[in-house]
């Protein structure tokens, strides 16, 4: 390239467990728009300021198409994966192609549509926690909870058998590994598509009256010929991958941040209305998509006074933008009370995360349930021993060993979701149960009642027409 700078530092730079590479801060302060050297020796612009990053991501004169000359690749593995990716997925398409494909999915991921998943997500969270608690007083939280939940959710939404999770989890991880030999992500992608291809065939042969997203894509796009089979495959693959790795890492890292900031954890338990804010802060602070989509200029564009020429690559780092002190005072501090909603952890512009409402819903259910159920949750190993996934496209944590105090054997438990407010429990055991003034739903007055109440609680359990009350003994 003609305009190479002599001392352009090497990209990617090494990050820290809880912050992007320290060089970003320095570059932002000294030369906010400057060049870096990519692994293949080419150079690209690195943007680190919030406004500049947004300016590029929101500007359609920058392309995300890896086939375009000058597109910067962050690793050889990524280059081999993206260059030969056929057909290109949403994330790699430019308007107007992008617009056409994205529009087919917009409705599926609208808030109202996603809200319908709430009961399923809550049930799954409850069941996973039950399982964890039933098994003992410690677990690998990353694997057993953080990954399991979004996997179950996206599998349910798409209509992919949850039993096959190990298969697609492994393939997704292989695809996102930036250090692996280039053949690894390629092969993983092929295997994933072959698997999904069989699934599509099965669904087409046996349409029944399924209501999953894949079946709808088949019905509304594939059969009428709006999308080719390859395009449908690529779309499903993107959703399946995008749907679980990201959210999984966000759940694990968010949990970790709260555990290492116990006062904030307590504040959240005491005031669940903080959850919304806390989630935005987790998204900002960790910005797990730390190598978000590279761009290449399709014409000469000026950004913050610097001319970026046609054909030059740009790395507009959302992880750097989210730590810009101009927009987030004291940016390296994790603070669930701060105003963080303007973060760009879901990116910005036309490629802004399609699944953000789903991700937010999952996170909000997790963080309104997790510490309520397990207030004693804590790290089982020192923080320094944790291993982070610095080398993956999506930042995260490989394993998060947690422990908690084994719960006191309770005499009974209540499944609030079933309650219909009949009040028969109150009739049988008025010292233990009451009804909420507003909605009539059951309230437990005493969850560790004296023995003389036990018979009344048994009676309440038998009378309750919705079988909400379980005697655990």
């Amino acid at each position: 390239m003609s305009h190479d700078h002599a001392n352009a530092p090497a990209f990617p730079m090494k990050r820290c467990p809880f912050s992007p590479p320290p060089e970003y801060a320095q570059i932002r302060a000294e030369a906010p728009v400057s060049k870096v050297t990519m692994p293949d020796g080419s150079q690209a612009w690195l943007l680190t300021r919030y406004d500049d990053v947004k300016a590029v991501l929101g500007d359609n004169r920058f392309s995300t198409d890896p086939a375009k000359d000058g597109y910067p690749f962050i690793s050889p593995a990524r280059a081999s994966l993206l260059k030969y990716e056929k057909p290109a997925t949403l994330i790699r398409l430019d308007p107007p192609e992008h617009t056409k494909h994205r529009r087919m999915l917009t409705k599926e991921f609208m808030i109202t549509q996603v809200e319908a998943m709430r009961p399923f997500i809550q049930e799954t969270v409850d069941a996973l926690l039950d399982e964890m608690i039933a098994k003992g007083d410690a677990c690998d939280f990353a694997e057993e909870f953080a990954l399991a939940l979004p996997t179950a959710v996206i599998a349910n939404m798409l209509g992919v058998p949850y039993e096959d999770r190990e298969f697609f989890q492994e393939r997704a991880q292989a695809k996102l590994d930036l250090t692996a030999d280039p053949s690894v992500p390629l092969k993983a992608g092929e295997e994933m598509r072959a698997y999904l291809d069989t699934l599509i065939t099965e669904k087409m042969a046996n349409p029944g009256n399924r209501s999953d997203l894949i079946s709808r894509l088949i019905g509304t796009q594939l059969v009428p010929g709006h999308l080719s089979r390859e395009e449908v495959l690529a779309t499903i693959e993107l959703l399946l991958m995008g749907g679980h790795e990201t959210t999984a890492n966000m759940i694990a890292l968010g949990t970790l941040s709260l555990l290492t900031n116990p006062d904030q954890k307590q504040a959240l338990i005491d005031d669940p209305s903080l959850v919304k804010n806390a989630i935005e802060e987790m998204l900002r602070f960790h910005t797990i998509v730390h190598y978000n989509g590279p761009r290449v200029a399709m014409e000469d564009v000026e950004v913050a006074g610097q001319l970026i020429r046609k054909g030059e690559g740009v790395m507009a780092m959302i992880s750097a933008a989210n730590r810009d002190p101009e927009k987030f005072p004291d940016p390296d501090k994790f603070d669930i009370r701060r105003e963080a909603r303007h973060h760009v952890a879901f990116s910005y512009g036309v490629h802004q995360c399609l699944g953000q409402h789903l991700a937010r819903l999952e996170l909000s259910i997790v963080f309104t349930t997790l510490f309520q159920r397990l207030p004693s949750l804590e790290l089982a190993v020192p923080v320094e021993e944790l291993k982070f996934n610095s080398d993956a496209f999506v930042y995260g944590i490989k394993s998060l060993p947690l422990k908690w105090e084994p719960k006191m054997q309770k005499f009974f438990s209540v499944d609030y979701s079933r309650c219909v407010g009949g009040g028969l429990c109150v009739m049988a055991a008025p010292k233990v149960f009451a009804q909420n003034e507003d909605d009539g739903l059951v309230i437990v007055l005493d969850d560790n009642p004296p023995a003389e109440e036990h018979e009344n609680i048994r009676e309440a359990a038998r009378l309750c027409p919705a079988l909400c009350i379980h005697i655990d003994k």
Binding site: S211, P430, N436, A466
Partner: protein, 417 residues
């Protein structure tokens, strides 16, 4: 005359609650509970919900153990069908010829499912969901089934359809009427539930009936609709409504009109005979003429009211009816009786799955149907009980706290709900 105590025919919710309340109220005489089912009294609502879904086992359905009845000195006659009432000599007779004398007789005979017309013989794949045995049988069959047909889009049929669809079965619901839960529910609520069920994968064939039903292969059923659509399935659930068990009363010369007719004190024309629960037809300030209600609330509250009356605290039955249905996690709660309603306003957004429909008859609020809005439901129950006037504009205005229309904010625990 010797006191022969109380005989209760039926061992359902109404009968079970009645005998408990009688003892609670201090009734010391003989109590005989006579029912034709072989099981101890049990809960019906979970049969089409938690039990069908496999969330609970049979054990958790029974109200009480055998010892409990012994302890409370309640005689249980299970598997005993009462075939005759002799009003003159005051006894009932069972199918095996046993005679049980009474001073007061309570009929809590409930209702039974209507049979599908035109069936030539019983088929193993055809289930009528009413009792524990039906439910056990159905749950077992559900395990091996892939396709099911539900005939009748009433509450039970839909609850079952949701369970089956969530299990991944292909479910087709055939309904003669144009909407879901037709007679009982307003159009916006029916439409919301339809969207919910369709999102679960349930397919609806509305406005059609069965033209033919047969067995193309052993264990398979084939349904042909009036339009000629052919559907094959492994299981067919019939839930086309129920009819009250009135024959016993009718044969004894008591007035029956879609139910055993009782007065405000739940008494038949014979002062020694009362009827409660699903089998009783009565008038109240909430109904237009005679009504018969199939709900846990009605069985409970009538049992409580009658127990008080029989122990000297005579009071008319006057509780606002309420009912709930849980269809695949989405809850419908209904307060009041909507028949004859001529105006419907919505609180919230009817395009979502969380809103309430307020039904008015000649300008008076008569019923509220709440979809996942328990607070609206609770307020409605209180408003109806208190007979408070509510304007349609107030009902649909989210800025009006309907509870504030109540005369005094009584604490919830103080009123029987």
């Amino acid at each position: 005359m010797a006191d022969d105590g109380i005989v209760v025919v039926g061992t359902g919710q109404a009968a079970f609650q009645l005998v408990g309340f009688l003892r609670d109220e201090g009734y010391a005489g003989t109590i005989r509970l006579v029912g034709d089912e072989a099981h101890l009294p049990y809960q019906r609502p979970p049969l089409s919900k938690a039990f069908m879904n496999g969330d609970c086992e049979i054990d958790s359905l029974f109200f009480q153990s055998r010892e409990h009845f012994q302890k409370r000195d309640i005689e249980l006659h299970l598997g005993a069908r009462v075939t005759r009432i002799d009003r003159a000599s005051r006894f009932v007779e069972t199918a095996t010829g046993v005679r049980l004398p009474y001073s007061h007789l309570v009929l809590a005979t409930g209702a039974r499912n209507r049979n599908l017309p035109g069936l030539d013989k019983p088929y193993p794949w055809l289930v009528n969901l009413r009792g524990l045995d039906d439910a056990g049988n159905m749950r077992e069959r559900l395990g091996g089934a892939r396709e099911v047909v539900v005939v009748g889009a009433g509450f039970l049929g839909l609850e079952f359809a949701a369970v089956a669809a969530k299990k991944g079965l292909a479910v087709t619901v055939i309904e003669a009427g144009p909407t879901l839960m037709g007679r009982a529910i307003s159009a916006p609520v029916a439409a919301a539930f339809r969207r919910h069920h369709e999102a679960l994968g349930v397919r609806f064939l509305l406005g059609t009936t069965l033209a033919a039903l047969d067995e193309p292969a052993p264990g398979r059923c084939r349904v042909v609709t009036r339009e000629g659509e052919v559907i094959e399935a492994d299981l067919l659930i019939s839930s086309i409504g129920v009819q009250p068990n009135v024959e016993l009363a009718q044969d004894a010369g008591l007035r029956c009109e879609n139910g055993i007719v009782v007065d405000a004190f739940l008494n038949t024309e014979d002062p020694a005979i009362s009827a409660i629960g699903d089998c009783a037809a009565f008038e109240s300030r909430f109904s237009l003429g005679l009504c018969r209600i199939e709900s846990v609330q009605n069985a409970m509250d009538q049992a409580r009211c009658l127990a008080r009356t029989l122990t000297g605290n005579r009071a008319p039955y006057d509780a606002a009816p309420w009912f709930w249905s849980d269809q695949g996690g989405l809850k419908l709660q209904i307060a009041g009786l909507s028949h004859g309603a001529d105006q419907c306003v919505i609180r919230g957004d009817a395009q979502t799955l969380s809103f309430s429909a307020y039904l008015f008859r000649a300008g008076r609020l008569v019923a509220v149907e709440s979809v996942a809005r328990p607070a609206d439901h609770m307020a409605a129950r209180r408003l109806l009980n208190a007979g408070v006037e509510v304007q349609p504009q107030q009902a649909q205005d989210l800025n009006v706290d309907l509870k504030s229309l109540l005369p005094v904010a009584e604490p919830l625990a103080a009123q029987p709900v």
